[in-house]
């Protein structure tokens, strides 16, 4: 067991089972990175939400690696008596690139709803058990198969698509 994991367990006052956690890294004083893979992430988040009482989800970021997607939940452990927060970057690793699929955390955080939809928009990561996984931020005319934040789409390509849908919209408005 690493020192970082021990310290985090002390702060949260729970035990994090070793088989669920891949790695815990201490970034700086009171700031941790927790890694867990797509199979175990839901169980681990359940412990963090229900036993440790973490209720604040700041945001979720999607990350594209060479051979996998990562989804990073930025959650805050809030200690109200001391006016203190312990930020935790909870990264879900090993999301298959061909069929990106990961459990939705909407059972624990209401705010996960729109942040997960944002990642679905930008990366095409499918969140299992999300009740309303639909487009949130991209324009209505945006082609369904283009996921703009993926590395395969360069800046020039995105600009071209934008121009195309803008032209279509203009022509429709003229008619």
């Amino acid at each position: 067991m690493s020192d970082a994991l021990k310290e985090l367990e002390e702060i949260l006052n729970v035990t994090l089972p070793g088989n669920l956690v891949e790695e815990v890294v201490k970034v700086e004083e009171g700031h941790f990175n927790v890694f867990s893979n797509a199979t175990n992430a839901f169980e681990l988040m359940k412990i963090l939400r229900e036993d440790a009482g973490i209720y604040h989800l700041t945001t979720i970021s999607g990350v594209e690696k060479d051979d996998e997607f990562n989804v990073c939940y930025h959650i805050q452990h809030r200690i109200e008596d001391e006016f203190r927060e312990v930020p935790i970057n909870f990264t879900v690793t090993k999301i298959d690139k061909n069929k990106p699929k990961t459990p939705s955390m909407i059972d624990f955080f209401v705010a996960a709803d729109y942040y997960e939809r944002e990642i679905y928009d930008f990366y095409g990561v499918y969140f299992e058990n999300h009740p309303f996984l639909q487009r949130l931020i991209l324009p209505e005319r945006w082609p369904d198969d283009v996921k703009p934040m993926r590395k395969e789409y360069g800046w020039e390509q995105i600009k071209e698509i934008t121009m195309k849908i803008a032209k279509e919209a203009l022509e429709e408005a003229k008619e």
Binding site: V27, G30, H31, N33, Y55, H56, L57, T58, T59, S61, V63, E64, C72, H74, R78, E80, F83, R84, E85, P87, N89, I106, D107, F108, F109, V110, A111, D113, Y114, R117, F122, P131, F132, R135, L136, I137, L138, P139, P148, M149, W155, I158, K159, I161, T162, M163, A166
Partner: protein
Amino acid sequence: MTEQYRSRFRTLTDGSDSPPGADHHIFIGPQHPWAEEPAHFIIHLKGERVVEADIRIGFNLRGIEKAMENRTWRQNTMLVPRACGICSAVHQNVYVRVVEKLAGVEDQISERARLIRMFSLEAERVHSHILWYGILAHDAGFDTMLHISWRDREIIMDIVEDFSGNRVNPALMLPGGVKRDIPKDKADKARPMLNKLIKQVEYHKKVFTEEASIRNRLENVGVLTKDDAKITTPNGPTGRGSGLPFDMRKSFPYELYDKIDWNLVCYNEGDILATTLVRIDETLESLQMCNQILDQLESTQGELLARVKPRVPEGSYMARGEAPRGEDIHYGIANGTDKPERYKIRAPSLGNIDATLKRMDGEYVADMPVILRSYDPCFSCTNRVMLINEVTGEKIIMNQDEFARKAIKAKRYNRPFF
């Protein structure tokens, strides 16, 4: 939990998902005189009471995150404040802290540079809060307060312009420090102006707490209890009005906020008046912090800019800052080159929408503008990720007069701009 509360970002355009019992539906936006910002609100009513309110966003996506992956870390320093029109300094501050941590130079930043950064941040908080409660008074039908508060806001705008050259985008920060110094003569000039503004803001507070016509519009309206706040996760003044005492400057101190005297403002009532008073009290706190910073600047010396190499070593870092609207979070991943691998920004407004729409349940339709205004809507930063529309790719360099002349001509004769 999700059965009890559902997120409000789920509206279908055909209205087929309206809640049972609603007999009228009001659609606001994306173009509407009430709001300067593009968002589509759908208010479901039964008689005069709101049953439920929904929102659709995504009308102003600019693609800043994608654009940042195509620019160097140094160029992004100037792109990142454009994420928000009014809280630009805080975006830049969080960004430079991410870069400094990744480059490993965060210990080399001098105290003087940090103090100048803090002055910029606090001045921004002052002008953003004054602007907001002016508009709130306008929405509540009290236009005199709008004119009074915006008149007094010019004092802090003049100070920011004097120190940085710009009114709303001071752009003082760079990875490694700051660009400009605050010399002693300018600080001496600013001090009486700050003291005058403190008096004026105290007067504004008196108006909001004692004037019956505005107090009646705000008191016990749109109450968000602490339990609801924990579920809908508001941040910043919206949360602090509902008894969640979390301010990044106290809860996870950055720059030199732990070395300066200031008090955390928190109210437990949860209504619109509480969020207003949080912001007014914070304005006063920020102004006294500005005074403290100017005093400390006199005795603090140091290099303004430390050297940061253009290539940032591999790694990832998440940094947060307290924007006027709440919690601003940046997550940067570097891959060893001079460009970021991935850069994620979340501005505070997006996190506050759910809580604000929750406030509206069961309220009168007449209180709607005030409640919707309560979280200080700023949609440029809510939809910050978007595609810049370049007409032809042609580049022209012109000065301000030429630009204005050309714009007027284009408008008058209905000609294309380029």
